[in-house]
Symmetry: C2
Subunit: 664 residues, 2 copies
Amino acid sequence: MTDNLYTLSEIVDKKFSHGEEIPDNIINSIRSITAAGDYIGMAQINPIAGNIEYNAKKIAKYIKYACKIGLEMIVFPELALMGYPIEDTIDRHPVIVEENIKWLKGLAKITRGTTALVGFIEPRKIEAEGKKYFNSVAILKEGKIAGIVRKSLLPNYSEFNDYRYIEPSPVVGVQPPETLGCFDRENIMPSSKIFEKYGISICEDCWNNKEFFEKHLYEKDPIEELSEEKPAVFINCSASPTRAKKEQLKHNMLSFIAQKYKTPIVYVNQVGAIDNSSFDGSSRVFNSNGELIARAKSFEEQLLIVNPLKNTGKIYPLTKGLDKSLTEQKVFTLEYESDLERTYKTIIQGIRDYFRKCGFKRAVLGLSGGLDSTICAVLLADAIGKENVYGISMPSKITSRESRSDAEELANNLGINFTEASIKPMIETTTESLNKLFAVIEQNWDGRFKTSFTPDNIQARSRAMFLWGISNEFSSCIPIATSDKSELYMGYATINGDMSGGFAPIADVPKTKLFAFARWLNKNREVKNAIPEAIILKKPGAELAIDPKTGKPLIAEDALMPYEFLDEIIWRIENKNEGYQDLLNTKFVYETHNQVTKEQKQEWIDKFFRRMSTALYKWSILPPSVIVESRSINKYDYRQPITSSKINYKGVKDSYIDSILKTD
Amino acid sequence: MTDNLYTLSEIVDKKFSHGEEIPDNIINSIRSITAAGDYIGMAQINPIAGNIEYNAKKIAKYIKYACKIGLEMIVFPELALMGYPIEDTIDRHPVIVEENIKWLKGLAKITRGTTALVGFIEPRKIEAEGKKYFNSVAILKEGKIAGIVRKSLLPNYSEFNDYRYIEPSPVVGVQPPETLGCFDRENIMPSSKIFEKYGISICEDCWNNKEFFEKHLYEKDPIEELSEEKPAVFINCSASPTRAKKEQLKHNMLSFIAQKYKTPIVYVNQVGAIDNSSFDGSSRVFNSNGELIARAKSFEEQLLIVNPLKNTGKIYPLTKGLDKSLTEQKVFTLEYESDLERTYKTIIQGIRDYFRKCGFKRAVLGLSGGLDSTICAVLLADAIGKENVYGISMPSKITSRESRSDAEELANNLGINFTEASIKPMIETTTESLNKLFAVIEQNWDGRFKTSFTPDNIQARSRAMFLWGISNEFSSCIPIATSDKSELYMGYATINGDMSGGFAPIADVPKTKLFAFARWLNKNREVKNAIPEAIILKKPGAELAIDPKTGKPLIAEDALMPYEFLDEIIWRIENKNEGYQDLLNTKFVYETHNQVTKEQKQEWIDKFFRRMSTALYKWSILPPSVIVESRSINKYDYRQPITSSKINYKGVKDSYIDSILKTD
């Protein structure tokens, strides 16, 4: 019978995604199962930030269906009506808050025969002190609002910014809606028994268990408080984006809570991407033994029906390999395999939703025959359709014949549009104009570099000029910024050049992971080996300048340092908070299979901090990008003043301080 | 005697700023005055974010001087050792926190004969729950750390982000330093009587008076709590950036507190700019009647010596006109006069400190003969020196002869470097290459615009290409983004064109204010009338395209709407939270002297919301800029998801909602 429930539900999900009606026989079959009671629908939806009508229609569709199949309750993610995150928009444009109240009342009216938990922004009473809003979940029942749950713990780390405009709720559990002024009496019903059965909380509220976490950010533990009421089931409405290594933490924590309180927990997560944050869905249920009994799909909208009291559920697979990451990664490793499908789906969803939600259809990018633009092309083809991608090879005189043919071969393999457009005339004209100009300026200004990056940058900027030109000329089309994380750390990206674009798909993926990713894509995509082997084997280099030593195009690792070494520095800083001295004293993976002198190592580490310090400006103007790793340089995730570029990362000795301060 | 104190102090300030020694006779003269006791030094310093050594040396210089002249106490701004804001840097690079503790201990050692209040980041005990740090002030005395004050109220609105990494202090007033683990016993001294005399708080702690503010953000009022101990004087260490209309609020609030508790308040504010935030200094003292008895200079480092118990102080003037803004501006007006000197100094400091703190010396900008680039040129000449500014006129075939000669006249008047460089060859080559490319792409893609912005944008991008080329070729030089606030709201700025640059000086100044500003600059700068009258009289237009109706370059107001109308929309949204319907029902100042039909008005308002929605991406990649107005679109001040571009700003009727949700 359970099998039948999920077979039918999969048909329903498909019909929903195609906007089709659900046939009565399916409704009746499902209803005959759920009639036994205690069935809950986990409605893992993909909202658009601030587009209340779009979100409300989606929610309405599921509520109506829940009524028809007789679910006891249907649960939506955190802030389902508003989309999460919505940021300062609610403060500057209060109309969207008013709209979310209006639509909520409308949704209440259609909720009959079931109970719906719908996340929304709740304006607080005007006379109240503190911030203007609560992050709330409304309990809709029999046409009315039957209760309100408010978020108590407000995360403000990483990409989260809840505390900025939301007041923490002093109380947990269901509150009567008359505690607030935004509903009229006609919208309100007195509390009912359902609230004793369910212990409802919102996202971060369940992330502060004092036994599970060694360090906890908040004093209050809402789940502990809820447990005192002895609910039959915990419910948590979430909007929790995917990040490297988070799955393991989330899984273990939810399991721990269920087991500790001997109470099943139903966790409903948002799916879809909003700007830089990609939410993975993967809503789930743990039974009172802490065992996983249901898990929704990752990166897809789904309504998963469960019965937490009767262990009824279906466990859809996580993205492949992610199970293996269930033990926390404590060391840097080049073994990226277990995270590559998640990486793929995170970025695909990030691209797809950015395009769809902004109204773009098509992308144009430069194909250099190098790894970064290659991976971007593959991801775009998969995310928005090969017919919507145009790859342009834009050779200069430095571009090798191999690069051009590799680019073309890739495009053919992917089936994307492709053409070649020479930037030589533009470079010649620009260089000529600029050289004249430089000669004039030199008459008044000193400090002209003997060897400058100007010619390199003219190439990169000419290419961007072509791409933005196409974006201006053809509707619904944006250019793509192809910079990767390792090179952005080093500022090895041209302003208004390769780091410019409407979206930056791989800005949070380090280079060594991109190599592994290329092999993974070749193996796991429907069309195998789309990426020519030559592209993977080639040493990365921007092909913008000739190395005077070799007479060949400059190799990036020669200009920077070995990527393996660089990526380990980044990993250690982001994941272990290591500093200059720690790094000097660490044995790098690279050192286990390469001879590195102490001087060479120090030179690389020095170079890292020097280049990173001057890259801060570039981070601040980076286009929107998907956050993939546990920590990033995305400006909505990591903020550092650009004027802090003179930080002494090496630190000083006490004796130095004494000598400086005592000198008078 | 008081006169003598300030005459001598001004000599001292000058000597400090030139790095000169203070002669003994001056020291002795001042000492003879301060010997009477109760004298406090307000050390309004300009720190560099994260550059602990730089900040510590500056603090040390003042502490040593305070010791010599026998001040009872010397007070530094909030987070003086670290610089404010420091953002996530302390989390990712904990070395700077370690360094700030080391240097703090060093500063304690040189504090003898006076007491120093020094702001720093204090790591909390490892076992403590909550965030890792306190925002603290150390009380340094007789070589030791004698006490700690911790910030209780953590602002997270606007540019503030304290709550992100700082734990709110549960207690107010001085705590013994042994409450934390970051100091050894040798650094600590037992509490002394000084703490009963002074009620010390940090910045936001004094911004929650429940009588003064109608709405208050926090439950706790640290000043109220401190008042229970009946201190002789309140001291507040601040880092509070200047914004339009904030002076009036700050003045009235501090006066109110002093009067209410019949206790003088000494308020010490940071000066200088850190990235987008410009701090105005203007430290001050109110006596127990709430009367202003001392105020330090605005936008300058200064050590102002005061005696709050004996009404000893000197009131330096605010920026001119700002007194007039002491009544809150409740309506939109074109009378910008009272805020123009503050606007000028805020931006000058913003530019100067960005350049100095990042290590840049020179700027290059395109001079179009239009208002925006003109104002930027004037501000740059004043901020970094005319010899360090290069203005380039880059005419295309659309550029009028007047624009070229106006630009040259301006440059001559300012004495900045100037040359002309034609972008015609580049435009021709680029256009030719692009047209070929477009013809190819059109074979595979539909949706080519019949009239596109491509030619306009090629011009703007070619100019940026020149400017970035110069920046690459000459050391310590960055190009300037000249976009203004009104046009950024409308997305009327070219990506990789005029909105691209290392810094955007006027990104937070609306166009109508720029007109007033131009006249003000002509009247108030040392060299009068540097801006040619023709530039001020000219109707703004980007000179990128020909208006088919007139055969002349397109006027911006024709493409957008009258700037006066546009700026009032922006003002109402930012300052009054007005929405679409409010704006429709508002009588605009523009309407008091122009006939505007209802249809025309609605068309402009529709256009505003439509264009603003698609400008969000541009805001996200805008270069660093100085925040000037009370609210801005600076990405560190205002965050809105780019994918929220489909918000329905008009709202809908309840009947519409019912009809949508009931339809099945």
